[in-house]
């Protein structure tokens, strides 16, 4: 008996069969090896009895049985295999040492992120749960975990130290712009009316700019403008968001039990919870969450597109219902001071729904009902926003141009342009005049606009508005 068959086509057929079996989730690679051994024994016996190689292969495969039914039986015998694939067996083909190294790297980076949060304590910036929130921490929030996340991706993608230095630039710039400006009352964030609006804008926009410009670049392996991997980064961001929310929920449970247990023995744990558990955990969770997303991307269905499917119809109904009610009752939009921000968020949600629907769609597929629904969603969001903008524009001179309002207006404009062109592309796609790939390209190509705008708000707005 021989290990391999001299017959080359037969070996190729076996390899094909093996590859086909490998794709079954319930059949792990030792099982494939066991089944292949059986197939080879059978082939040896059949060829020895005088069958030609290809005939023997047909008979042996036929006797092995239908692979669908077989993998169903495997799934029944090992039902856990359809579930527990994430951390236990991230990749059956990868050598165990790689995943162990990765786990080590991830844990070290997560701990480093947690410690980074405590680093400013050495320079007198304390996180004291009994006092007001320290504005220093909030301005610099993205600078604790994001650089370490960038390091993780540099390690994972095998980036050179030179590109690492380039990646350090945006972080250095962010650290400068977050801290050099003499914001009015820079140590406080929450005491309106003295609190600085431009400082609040920095707090909101710096993470967006850094996420897209620095973490994104590290994620795609240092080639932001050249590569087609931006959509992967979009998918990653959505999944990370979902994982982060899940981890945060778990963290909330841990916090609750910490409070309960220590108050049961009359020990105050507030300093630990507010000063260590929550801030360090929040920073470390960014790294751990990213690792989970990376580890499971090929294993479990992405959640963000599923949520998109669920919520696109709901948002469409909401917007149409709103428009219908407004038309029916004739009541105008009651323009409040900060109404614009609410409409910005609405547009951002709609853009997100479009983006994540696009991220999961096969660009070659023909238009279907869901595409029509997306177009309806985009158009109704546009109508709602235009109505709101008209109402706000009529009174904007009355309110005056504060930094908040200029930022909100700018964002509204950016999202409006995106959605207008999206609607146009969707319409031509539905009429079979264009392809879905155009729409995807447009959404992906638009990402740097958000990054630029966020960076602009951080860099230009504070001096422009006198650090108000």
């Amino acid at each position: 008996m021989t290990t391999t068959f001299a017959d080359q086509p037969l070996e190729e057929q076996i390899a094909q069969w093996r590859a086909y079996l490998r794709r079954r989730r319930a059949v792990h690679s030792p099982d494939v090896e066991e089944l292949e051994g059986h197939l080879r024994d059978q082939l040896t016996a059949l060829t020895a009895s005088g069958l030609a190689a290809d005939e023997a292969f047909l008979v042996a495969v036929k006797r092995m049985g239908n692979l669908d039914a077989l993998s169903r039986e495997f799934a029944r015998a090992h039902s856990e295999r359809l579930w527990k694939q994430l951390v236990v067996a991230p990749d059956v083909d990868a050598p165990a040492s790689t995943s162990r190294t990765e786990l080590l790297v991830v844990l070290s980076l997560a701990v480093a992120a947690g410690l980074a949060v405590k680093l400013p304590t050495l320079f007198g910036h304390h996180l004291n749960p009994d006092e007001d929130v320290n504005a220093f921490y909030i301005r610099n929030a993205s600078l604790f975990a994001f650089p370490l996340l960038a390091i993780y991706f540099m390690w994972k993608r095998g980036l050179s130290a030179v590109s690492g230095l380039w990646l350090g630039l945006p972080f250095a710039a962010a650290a400068v712009f977050a801290n050099v400006f003499p914001f009015h009352n820079r140590e406080r964030l929450d005491n309106f009316p003295q609190g600085s609006d431009t400082q609040l804008l920095t707090v909101l926009h710096l993470p967006i700019a850094l996420w897209l410009m620095a973490v994104g670049v590290a994620y795609v392996g240092g080639r932001w403008f050249a590569s087609g991997r931006r959509m992967d980064f979009v998918r990653f961001s959505g999944e990370l968001f979902i994982y982060y929310v899940l981890i945060a929920l778990g963290g909330g449970v841990v916090t609750g039990f910490t409070v309960m247990l220590f108050s049961a023995i009359d020990t105050k744990a507030g300093w630990f919870i507010g000063g260590w558990l929550i801030p360090c955990g929040a920073a470390g969770a960014v790294i751990v969450g990213s690792w989970l997303v990376e580890a499971k991307q090929s294993v479990i269905e992405n959640m963000a597109p599923v949520l998109t499917r669920l919520f696109t119809p709901l948002f469409t109904i909401l917007l149409l219902g709103f428009l219908a009610t407004m038309a029916w009752t004739g009541s105008p939009i009651n323009v409040e001071r900060e109404m614009l921000i609410g409409f910005d968020l609405l547009l951002a949600v709609v853009v997100g729904l479009v983006l994540y629907a696009a991220s999961a769609r096969d660009p070659q597929a023909r238009p279907d009902f869901f595409d029509g629904l997306q177009l309806l969603l985009v158009v109704s969001a546009l109508v709602v926003d235009v109505v709101a903008l008209a109402a706000i524009a009529a009174r904007i001179s009355e309110f005056g141009f504060t930094p908040n309002r200029v930022a909100a207006l700018g964002e509204n404009l950016i999202l409006l342009i995106n959605l207008l062109w999206t609607a146009w592309l969707y319409a031509s796609f539905l009429r079979r005049r264009g392809s879905f790939a155009d729409l995807e390209k447009w959404q992906i190509g638009y990402l740097p606009v958000y990054a630029m705008w966020a960076a602009l708000v951080v860099v230009v707005f504070p001096p422009l508005f006198g650090y108000r």
Binding site: G37, D41, M64, E73, F74, A77
Partner: protein
């Protein structure tokens, strides 16, 4: 003879355990032994034996071990455990009861 699927499935456990009680074996050899014992009447789909073996391994009736085979490839050998033998004895009693009952009624049918 086409045997019903349920009957094949039900007889798989005692048959595999009984073959392993004769001595350690591996998948392909077990299939061959089944064909030999049944005179070709009991045709299993080869692949389906493996989920059965894995289930028995999980229930603790057999243990598996990878070792080298005579052709140089790794092969997974199965050995029956003490629990496996107890299970085999229990199943044997059950099958005997079924067999005895059926035999009784069929003998009657013949004599009437």
């Amino acid at each position: 003879m086409d045997m019903s699927k349920d009957l094949v499935a039900a007889s798989a456990t005692p048959l595999v355990l009984a073959i392993l009680a004769e001595g350690d074996s591996y998948g392909y050899a077990i299939i061959k032994r089944v064909a030999e014992l049944s005179g070709g009447h009991l045709q299993w789909t080869d692949g389906m034996l493996y989920p059965v073996l894995h289930r028995l391994e999980r229930q603790g009736y057999v243990v598996a071990k990878w070792s080298a085979s005579e052709n140089g490839r790794r092969r997974k050998y199965y050995r029956i455990t003490r629990e496996g033998r107890a299970q085999l004895a229990a199943q044997r009693e059950q099958w005997k009861a079924v067999d005895g009952t059926l035999r009784g009624i069929w003998m009657q049918a013949c004599t009437v």
